[in-house]
């Protein structure tokens, strides 16, 4: 296990370096992306722009600029946005609870619903409930989630007033407010995943139901509930766990961007979206690194969970 963790840590460092270099270079080469000109405003003189370039280090070579950014990110902790000079790390930390709230809630919803619908669909395979669930799952996958989000927010929030029309209430401020403001975002974010997971679980449950050990368990008189939970679902869920780990990592790393924009949730995703539209490099570096760490850590946890679910797998 120690070797596993160390190997993963080393991998995380490599991933973060690669991510930061790619992000940096992409924005260094974007046309019209000179931050000094944008910061200097529309009455700038050449001296203003030169002063800003010097103050921010834009007149240095690209490798030096990159290393300065990394130093500010990891050593001095004073990496600030070009657009408004707010501290990037502080902004991300402040926004993580919002993104976590959205991601975890949606993940719980899509896991429960996906597994439930997939299992029911498998148990009623080829009968009308299966067809109904299949239609539902396909619809969930096919419908663009951003469109669904906009429509739901407009219809249920702005028109009908059943849900709040966007915004976020911190959990510490009001539990009911936090919950009510996140219900629609959870639903929208989980929609596509519910469909995918339902289909995957259906396929794996159907496959496992035919296995010898399931027939043996039934033949031995094991109660059906135990057959389902101990034998069928446990085996079926290995595929789901792998999927879940990567999906959750992706969502946490920035996959909430659309939902946060639609519902005006000031999370990491919206921070990234604002940074892209402002061509603001420091927040993008920060979000890219945050995303990289998230994916690496969560994929490591997935591997560990996989090992627990399937005794044949050794984590080392």
């Amino acid at each position: 296990m120690t070797r596993f963790v160390l190997r993963r840590l080393a991998g995380a460092v490599v991933v973060m370096i690669a991510l930061s270099i790619v992000t940096f270079l992409l924005f260094a080469w974007v046309p019209g992306g000179d931050p000094a000109v944008r910061m200097a405003g529309r009455t700038a003189t050449a001296q203003n722009i030169a002063n800003i370039r010097h103050a921010w280090g834009f007149d240095r070579s690209l490798p030096v600029q990159y290393l300065t950014l990394m130093k500010r990110t990891f050593v001095t902790g004073d990496l600030v946005s070009y657009a408004n000079q707010t501290n990037v790390r502080d902004q991300i930390i402040q926004r993580i609870p919002v993104t976590l709230s959205v991601a975890i809630g949606a993940a719980v919803l899509w896991s429960l619903l996906g597994v439930l619908i997939g299992t029911l669909s498998a148990l009623y395979a080829s009968r009308w409930p299966d067809r109904l669930f299949t239609f539902f799952a396909v619809a969930c996958i096919a419908l663009p989630s951003f469109w669904v989000g906009i429509e739901l927010r407009h219809l249920l929030g702005e028109q009908a007033g059943i849900f709040p029309a966007g915004g976020y209430v911190p959990l510490g401020q009001s539990v009911s407010g936090w919950f009510s403001h996140l219900l629609l975002p959870w639903f929208v974010l989980s929609l596509m995943f519910v469909g995918i997971y339902a289909r995957v679980v259906r396929a794996t449950v159907l496959d496992v139901l035919d296995k010898d050990y399931v027939r043996t368990a039934r033949a031995k008189g094991v109660p059906e509930r135990r057959v389902m939970t101990r034998h069928v679902l446990r085996s079926s869920l290995t595929a789901v766990v792998t999927l879940f780990g990567l999906d959750f990592a992706g969502v946490l790393a920035g996959g909430t961007i659309l939902v946060e924009a639609i519902f005006d949730l000031h999370g990491v995703g919206q921070y990234a979206a604002d940074a892209v539209s402002n061509l603001d490099l420091p927040p993008l570096i920060g979000v890219a690194l945050y995303g990289g760490v998230t994916v690496v850590v969560l994929s490591a946890l997935v591997d560990i969970a996989y090992g627990w679910l399937d005794p044949r797998v050794h984590v080392d």
Binding site: V30, V37, A40, A83, L123, P164, A165, G167, L279
Partner: protein, 558 residues
């Protein structure tokens, strides 16, 4: 397995979903009144101080703020800073029509201007205090200007004609030689390198408000600088919220009264739809973000008395690159002007644009309505043919994230193809638009959207069309317009210290020359802002300011 159990589970699932949908938090709605609305372009505020109640707490939804440091705020934060802080001069809050007037603020009166128009001397009012009780010193005004250079303010260009500014920009240490002051006589003098007709407008901007000497030359947005104006900024949390308090040390001056709200609680809301809903539901009293186009009809119908619309001092226009064919020919530029129906383009904004042929916005004393062009495709085609430009390829640059701008350029492309040109539309993000328009790519025409910094024609013609400034790094004269007689006229008018009737006529003639005689630009619409208020707000005290939008200092409630 018992087949009924999964079915029961399914039903339970559906019931749970229904319960969740029915039972969760909602927001209250309030109905609109039946009073008719007026999409007035100006609202007198002579009664503003006598109607409604002064609110103890006025709640606003605001767009995302860049900075709240007076030296740095130039976007939505500027709208707050401009209302809270005050300098030697300010802009009148008396009424919408007068909100472009420069009036004495912390100065005893308008400055003494030397006959050569190079020296401006102000006398500072005695006994001034900041919002923290600290006395305002004369030196603080000078320090604020010097700090602009040290902090790399985006407004440094406005003060670049002060003597010593160039040297100070290179080495921003010590004292800026062009500003001298005397604490005993409370006088401060600005010396300029050349006459500048808009200098008083610049002095009245929030960039030059006094700050206590020693204020660090770093962004102080999260540690708000004390104010000598109607509001103090108590707190600012980037991306989240801000709080303004009535400045108890502020002594009102004519045209700039004390703040009526004791406190303004601001929530930053990036999504205009959400902000609008907050105002509809009464969670905020004022929505600064503007009513989205697609909801304007609904709002007009349901809440007409809570909606106020006015024409901003901003113009959308088409610039045409005169350095390359085919718009190097006057006939083709004229053809473009005849090919567009300004009323039709304005309708694309869904009510948030007002058609125009002027570059200057209405409301300026130098505004004289231009009515030279009517849609005439046949004439436009003929002009293109005469110029030998039929079939000429034309690349048009437009924004892909400004809805009205994008639609306008799509319309333009369509019209240009009808008059015999071969348009190709290139839509880019706003974040790279300026770089692309001013870059090396051969763009023939494009979208322009200019909102004033201050109400003076120099802020338009000198920046957008002066050919003498083409080589400057911040040049936005993307059409590369360089008409010598008009450049000279701009330079001449630049030296005029006052907008007299004659000077206004001269500016109006310049507007006419650029748009009609030389067809250098094709203005098509002025931007319209739709302000929306919550049920508690009393819109009788609504005053839209020329620069800073709705006058928060005069906000009142029922």
């Amino acid at each position: 397995m018992n087949a009924r159990r999964p079915l029961a589970l399914t039903c339970a699932l559906l019931l749970l979903a229904a319960a969740l949908l029915a039972g969760c938090g909602g927001s209250s709605k309030s109905g609109g009144s039946t009073a008719a609305s007026t999409a007035a372009s100006s609202t007198g505020a002579t009664a503003a101080g006598t109607v409604g109640r002064d609110p103890a707490d006025y709640r606003v939804a605001w767009s995302d703020i860049d900075y709240i440091d007076p030296a740095l705020a130039y976007s939505w934060g500027w709208m707050l800073v401009g209302q809270g802080y005050l300098g030697l001069l300010g802009y009148s809050h008396e009424s919408a029509a007068k909100s472009g007037d420069v009036v004495p603020g912390l100065a005893e009166g308008m400055p003494r201007i030397s006959p050569d128009r190079l020296t401006y001397t102000f006398t500072v009012r005695p006994g001034l205090r900041y919002s923290n009780g600290q006395p305002v010193k004369v030196g603080d005004f000078k320090y604020a200007v010097e700090r602009m250079f040290r902090i790399n303010s985006p407004a440094v260009g406005f003060v670049s004609t002060i003597v010593g500014a160039d040297a100070y920009a290179r080495h921003p240490t010590g004292s800026l030689s062009g500003i001298t002051m005397n604490e005993q006589t409370r006088t401060i003098t600005f010396r300029l390198t050349k006459p500048r007709g808009d200098f008083l407008n610049i002095i009245a901007l929030s960039f030059l408000v006094p700050v206590p000497e020693g204020t660090p030359a770093t962004d102080q947005s999260t540690h708000p600088i004390p104010s000598a104006g109607p509001f103090e900024i108590q707190s600012f949390h980037p991306g989240q919220s801000f709080v303004l308090l009535r400045n108890k040390y502020y002594r009102p001056v004519p045209g700039i009264p004390a703040a009526r709200p004791a406190r303004v609680d601001g929530t930053i809301v990036k999504d205009p739809d959400q902000a609008l809903q907050m105002a509809i539901d009464g969670k905020v009293d004022y929505d600064f973000t503007g009513v989205p186009t697609e909801r304007l009809g609904e709002v007009k119908q349901k809440y007409p008395d809570r909606l106020k619309a006015y024409i901003l001092a901003g113009t959308q226009y088409v610039w045409m690159n005169e350095s390359i064919a085919p718009f190097d020919k006057l006939a083709v530029r004229q053809a473009l002007n005849y090919a567009i129906d300004r009323n039709a383009i304005s309708r694309l904004a869904g009510g948030l644009a007002s058609p125009t042929e002027n570059l200057l916005p209405p409301g300026y004393p130098s505004y004289r309505t231009i009515s030279a062009y009517t849609l005439d495709i046949a004439k436009a085609k003929s002009l293109v043919r005469q110029a030998g430009a039929t079939g000429a390829p034309v690349t048009i640059l437009g924004p892909n994230d400004d809805d009205f701008g994008r639609k306008a350029m799509l319309y333009l492309a369509d019209q240009l193809s009808q008059i015999g040109l071969k348009p190709k539309l290139k839509l880019v993000s706003s974040s790279v638009y300026v770089g692309t328009a001013g870059g090396k790519l051969p763009i023939n025409a494009g979208w322009g959207n200019w909102n004033q910094d201050y109400p003076h024609p120099l802020d338009w013609f000198d920046i957008l069309l002066n050919g003498d400034r083409l080589s400057e790094p911040s040049n936005v004269n993307w059409g590369k317009v360089a008409i010598k007689p008009l450049d000279e006229e701009i330079d001449r008018l630049k030296a005029e210290p006052e907008l007299t009737a004659q000077v206004n006529d001269d500016w109006a003639r310049l507007d006419q020359d650029y748009v009609v005689r030389y067809a250098a630009v094709a203005p098509y619409a002025n931007n319209v802002v739709a302000d929306f208020f919550g049920p508690r707000a009393d819109t009788r005290c609504y005053v839209p300011l020329s620069i800073y939008r709705f006058d928060l200092t005069q906000a009142c409630v029922k």
